[in-house]
């Protein structure tokens, strides 16, 4: 990891904190987290065995079991984590199993994930989630040929013979009967 750029980054180490944004994930005691506090700016590579919480600004490579970017946090660079939750701002390249996003995704960002959740809050006037120019690759790649074949099969499965009673004879067509000119002899 590179040198911190501010004295505040001295707190950017694994340590227990009662001020975790989320409840403990196991046991009854507090969870150890790596915390980059608001006002802290970190450049370089950060590897942690604990969940990482970004309240400040991180620029560089990051890996760990999970990373949480709070409303005040900015994460820019590359991250390979199991879980990524961001309510702040992210930019760069992210690989994760589970991603939850709100906040902002900046330009030239790539997110690869098995699962992505972005919630739409229709009752609020402002946009909860802002995407810049970015790429999202989430879940198994959809297979167009397979989808089209399945849709066609749906059509074939739905084709059933029409009940004879439902098929009106030509003579029974009111319009035909009413307006047909008489046949003439040759």
């Amino acid at each position: 990891m590179s040198q911190p750029t501010s004295p505040a980054t001295s707190q950017a180490t694994s340590h227990p904190t009662a001020a975790t944004p989320h409840p403990p994930t196991h046991g009854t005691g507090p969870t150890k987290r790596t915390l980059i506090e608001e006002g802290t700016e970190l450049k370089g590579t950060l590897t942690s065995t604990c969940p990482i919480v970004v309240q400040g600004r991180v620029e560089g490579d990051l890996s760990g079991p999970s990373v949480e970017v709070t409303e005040s946090g900015v994460l820019s660079g590359k991250a390979r984590v199991t879980e990524l939750r961001s309510r702040g701002e992210i930019a760069g390249e992210f690989d994760a199993k589970v991603v939850e996003l709100s906040g902002r995704v900046r330009d030239k960002t790539i997110i690869r994930a098995e699962s992505l959740e972005v919630k739409l809050r229709r009752d609020e006037g402002r946009i909860e989630m802002v995407f810049g120019d970015c790429e999202l690759a989430v879940g198994d790649a959809p297979d167009k040929a397979k989808a089209v074949a399945a849709a066609r099969a749906n059509g074939q499965a739905k084709v059933k013979p029409v009940a004879p009673a439902a098929a009106p004879a030509l003579a029974a067509l009111p319009a035909a009967a009413a307006t047909a000119p008489p046949a003439t002899d040759g």
Partner: protein, 354 residues
């Protein structure tokens, strides 16, 4: 037994003699030049007229049941009220022929040329017209019940008040057909090519539709959204296939697609709500406009960008989207549920800075 031999028929034709009401049953008249022949009410049941030339012949009220007319030239012939039940007319040239009120029940017309033909009130039930050319044909009040109309070219044909119940239309091209009063197939359409239809009573092109009413109109089936009837709702049912169509939905319309759309262009008005149902597949399609899009099914773009300017894009847990999305100028509101599958490239509109 026929009253005339092949040679006698030939001699009469050379002398321009009438053959009206002649008994020609079972005769071999194949390849015979019979242009303009006068055969009104003639009995040609079971006759062999393979590749015969009957151009402009008068066969009004003739009996041609089970006749063999494959490759026959009947262009501009008068077959009004003729009985062609079970006749073999494969690859026959019937362009411009008058088949009004003719009985073609069970006839085989594969690859036949019926362009511009008159078939008003004709009985064409259980007939096989696979690959037939019906361009500009008059088919008003004709009965096509249980007939096979696969791959027919019925471009700008007049199908007003025709009966298609039980017919198959797979790969049929009905673009520009006049369809007021049409009785639909009563079954999902399968793959059809329909860019637009004319629903006007007069068949004058004033009722042109290019949107979601097409499958329901041709099939006669109505989806759940139409069952509740608001005029601004459009429903494309399960099993329908729409290809190469351009669909324009008015502002505020509610549209649901449970069908297969291929190479379609969908234009959404402001606040139009488009829902791709779980069974819906939009392959090689483009969606434009400031509507709200919810994808429970699958969307695959034709070319980048496949989705332009939506107000909202929601992909649910059963949904999949492969596309570039150019955002609305006011920024698109996105929502993705867990388990949705995405290959998305999100781009800001030109109006927005980077």
């Amino acid at each position: 037994m026929a009253e005339l031999t092949r040679d006698q028929v030939l001699q009469k034709l050379r002398k321009n003699e009438k053959l009206d009401r002649a008994d020609l049953r079972g005769l071999d008249l194949s390849k015979m030049p019979m242009t303009g022949a006068l055969l009104a009410r003639a009995d040609l049941e079971g006759a062999n007229l393979e590749t015969a030339v009957l151009r402009k012949a008068n066969l009004k009220n003739a009996n041609l049941r089970e006749a063999y007319l494959a490759g026959c030239d009947l262009s501009e012939a008068n077959l009004e009220n003729a009985d062609l039940e079970g006749a073999k007319l494969d690859r026959a040239n019937l362009a411009g022929a008058n088949l009004a009120r003719a009985n073609l029940e069970g006839a085989s017309l594969t690859g036949a040329n019926l362009s511009g033909a008159q078939l008003a009130f004709a009985q064409v039930s259980s007939a096989n017209l696979t690959g037939a050319d019906l361009r500009n044909a008059i088919l008003t009040h004709a009965n096509f019940e249980e007939s096979t109309l696969g791959a027919v070219k019925a471009i700008e044909a007049d199908l007003r008040a025709a009966n298609l119940r039980g017919a198959t239309l797979t790969k049929a091209d009905l673009t520009g057909a006049k369809v007021a009063g049409l009785i639909g197939t009563g079954r999902p359409l399968g793959e059809v090519l329909v860019a637009w239809l004319d629903t006007s009573e007069a068949g004058d092109g004033s009722g042109r539709i290019t949107n979601g009413e097409i499958p329901g109109l041709l099939s006669g089936l109505r989806g759940p959204m139409e069952a509740t009837a608001p005029a601004s709702r459009r429903y494309f049912g399960l099993g329908d296939v729409l290809k190469n169509a351009t669909l324009d939905f008015e502002p505020g319309a509610r549209v649901q697609i449970d069908s297969l759309f291929e190479k379609c262009i969908i234009n959404l008005g402001a606040d139009t709500e488009l829902v791709v149902g779980e069974a819906g597949v939009l392959a090689d399609c483009t969606i434009s406009g400031a509507g709200s899009i919810t994808v429970n099914g699958q969307f695959f773009e034709r070319q980048s960008p496949g989705i332009v300017g939506p107000r909202e894009l929601v992909v649910t847990k059963t949904g999949a989207v492969v596309a570039s999305v150019v955002q609305n100028e006011a920024l698109t509101r996105f929502a993705f549920e867990r388990d949705s599958r995405l290959r998305l490239k999100i781009l800001k509109s030109d109006a927005k800075g980077g």
